[in-house]
């Protein structure tokens, strides 16, 4: 997807980040920021399953690989903004916090949320990925050809 032409690209990015980040981190950063936002539940947190699909031969027809647990929640701030959260796993507070962060990102708190929640989550995710990538890189095979015995 072209980030520049997609008006939803930024929101898609932060929602995806919140879905994949550890529940404990999302909740901790949100609590530390301590925004006082009044809200009502549009959809109380709900645990469910999503059927994950793959493709035959990685590129062909879709098939059902199996399900994963997902928890979702939606909130509406009393000032009007609606936030949605879909997160991996079964943590209801994680889903509701993601929805609140999504709503807060549509208010004038956006800059604070970006700096105090989203940026640290991005940094941690990148650090975890690069630590793993570095270990994988150390197991990369360097082939060499044995010198043949004949002249």
């Amino acid at each position: 997807m072209n980030m520049h032409n997609d008006p939803n690209a930024a929101r898609k990015e932060w929602l995806s980040l919140l879905a994949k980040s550890p529940a404990a981190d999302v909740k901790r950063y949100w609590n530390e920021l301590a925004l006082s936002l009044d809200f009502i539940d549009l959809r109380a947190p709900e645990i469910g399953g999503v059927m994950v699909r793959g493709r035959a031969g990685a590129v062909g027809a879709a098939f059902n690989l199996g399900e994963m647990t997902v928890t979702r929640a939606s909130v509406k701030l009393t000032r009007g903004e609606v936030g949605h959260g879909y997160v991996q796993g079964r943590d209801k507070v994680h889903a509701q916090t993601a929805a609140l962060i999504d709503a807060a990102m549509q208010t004038d708190h956006a800059e604070q949320v970006e700096a105090k929640i989203l940026n640290p989550l991005r940094t941690e995710m990148a650090a975890k990925k690069s630590a793993r990538a570095a270990k994988a890189a150390s197991t990369k095979v360097d082939f060499f050809t044995m010198v043949r015995g004949e002249d």
Binding site: M51, G57, A58, N64, V70, S74, K129, A137
Partner: protein, 361 residues
């Protein structure tokens, strides 16, 4: 005659209480936590997720603890839990091309672009018991190297570019789902792949091995085996666009198999495919071999009568929960059924004896 039998409630309650105590084992030994199972018995957790058909490491670890390490019992617990979950929808097909690979090897191309990465593998270990693990062994330092952001394209795509490999046919974006409609034959490839990926590892391995030993041999090479993480994306109706709803570890195996051609078509390699939750490479390779064997009809091959070619045999016997349910039910009370068998055999013996007596007189 129908006789209802009641009773045994007290015995059952007491059996469950004893089970709980036996599960705990010697209480002077520290109790195992769910987190310890999740982190330190990860491959068991992966198998339970794959065959339980539900990706949730915490639940799989809990199931392993509850089942005292009986993985089929754990898979049963996960399958039962799965049925209680409301289905939010289906994901977009995961894009394994974008996998962040922990491991990626090819048995066909030494110089695969992106390189061959061994990852945390048992391969090349000497399979000698490591007694350091029984002591409180210090963990050695894991070396690191500079990683590159170079893409890791599927190796099959290079063969595809030269038209040397059969292309994969497309299909409906919403595939048939055997958790929604009972499996009927002949099964689409989508249904076959769904059953194989949740099928019993031992059964799928045995079937795959039979093809290697000559029962519908299909000359498989592992073109690529990759293990790593992929994002799962789903369209969210209330948003009107797709977001990532999580990240999974999966194992993917693509095999390149014997080629075929005809008077009108130049020879091309054929392919088999395996994709399984978690780090489960034995299962993924097995799945690819069995997938390939089951494709005989669409590839215009002969049915040589091999078990791995028989989709009814493979698909109806690969599910360990169906199998164990039917197998284990025969140990439950069948007193009335057996009573009628007893009466029948006594009657037959009486008749046989009187015939013998008559003949003797």
């Amino acid at each position: 005659m129908y006789v209802a039998v009641k009773g045994g409630e007290r015995a059952i309650d007491n059996a469950h209480a004893w089970l709980a105590e036996e599960r705990r084992g010697d209480s002077s030994v520290e109790e195992l936590s769910v987190a310890q199972i999740r982190e330190q018995l990860k491959l068991a957790v992966n198998r339970v997720m794959a065959e339980g058909s539900l990706y949730d490491p915490d639940l799989a670890a809990l199931a392993i603890k509850q089942s005292r390490g009986d993985l089929i019992e754990a898979i049963f617990l996960i399958r039962a839990y799965r049925t209680t979950l409301p289905r939010f929808g289906g994901s977009n097909p995961i894009d394994t091309e974008d996998m962040v690979c922990d491991r990626r090897v090819s048995a066909t191309f030494k110089d695969a672009p992106g390189g061959q990465v061994l990852g945390p593998t048992f391969d090349y270990t000497h399979r000698l018991l490591d007694f350091k693990l029984a002591a409180d062994g210090e963990l050695g330092k894991c070396p690191k190297a500079e990683s590159s952001d170079a893409a890791t394209p599927h190796i099959m795509s290079f063969l595809d570019r030269e038209d040397l490999i059969q292309s994969e046919p497309t299909g409906p974006e919403t595939p048939d789902d055997l958790t929604r409609t009972p499996l009927e034959l002949p099964a689409s490839r989508a249904l076959r792949l769904q059953s194989l990926t949740r099928g019993d590892e031992g059964f799928i391995l045995g079937m795959a091995y039979s093809t290697q030993r000559g029962y519908a041999r299909n000359h498989a090479f592992v073109a690529e085996l990759r293990i790593g993480t992929v994002a799962v994306e789903m369209d969210i109706p209330e948003l009107g666009f797709a977001i990532d709803i999580g990240e999974l570890t999966v194992t993917e195996c693509e095999t390149v198999n014997q080629f075929q051609g005809s008077k009108t078509q130049p020879p091309q390699f054929t392919r088999g495919y395996g994709l399984v939750f978690g780090m489960t490479e034995r299962k993924a390779i097995s799945m690819a071999l069995v997938d390939r064997a089951l494709r005989w009809k669409e590839l215009g091959e002969d049915n040589v009568g091999a078990p791995a070619q028989d989709e009814e045999f493979v698909l109806y016997h690969s599910d360990n929960i169906q199998a164990t349910g039917f197998l284990e039910h025969i140990k439950l009370p069948h007193y009335v059924d057996f009573q009628s068998e007893l009466e029948l055999i006594r009657k037959l013996r009486r008749e046989a004896q009187s015939t013998l007596q008559e003949a003797a007189e």
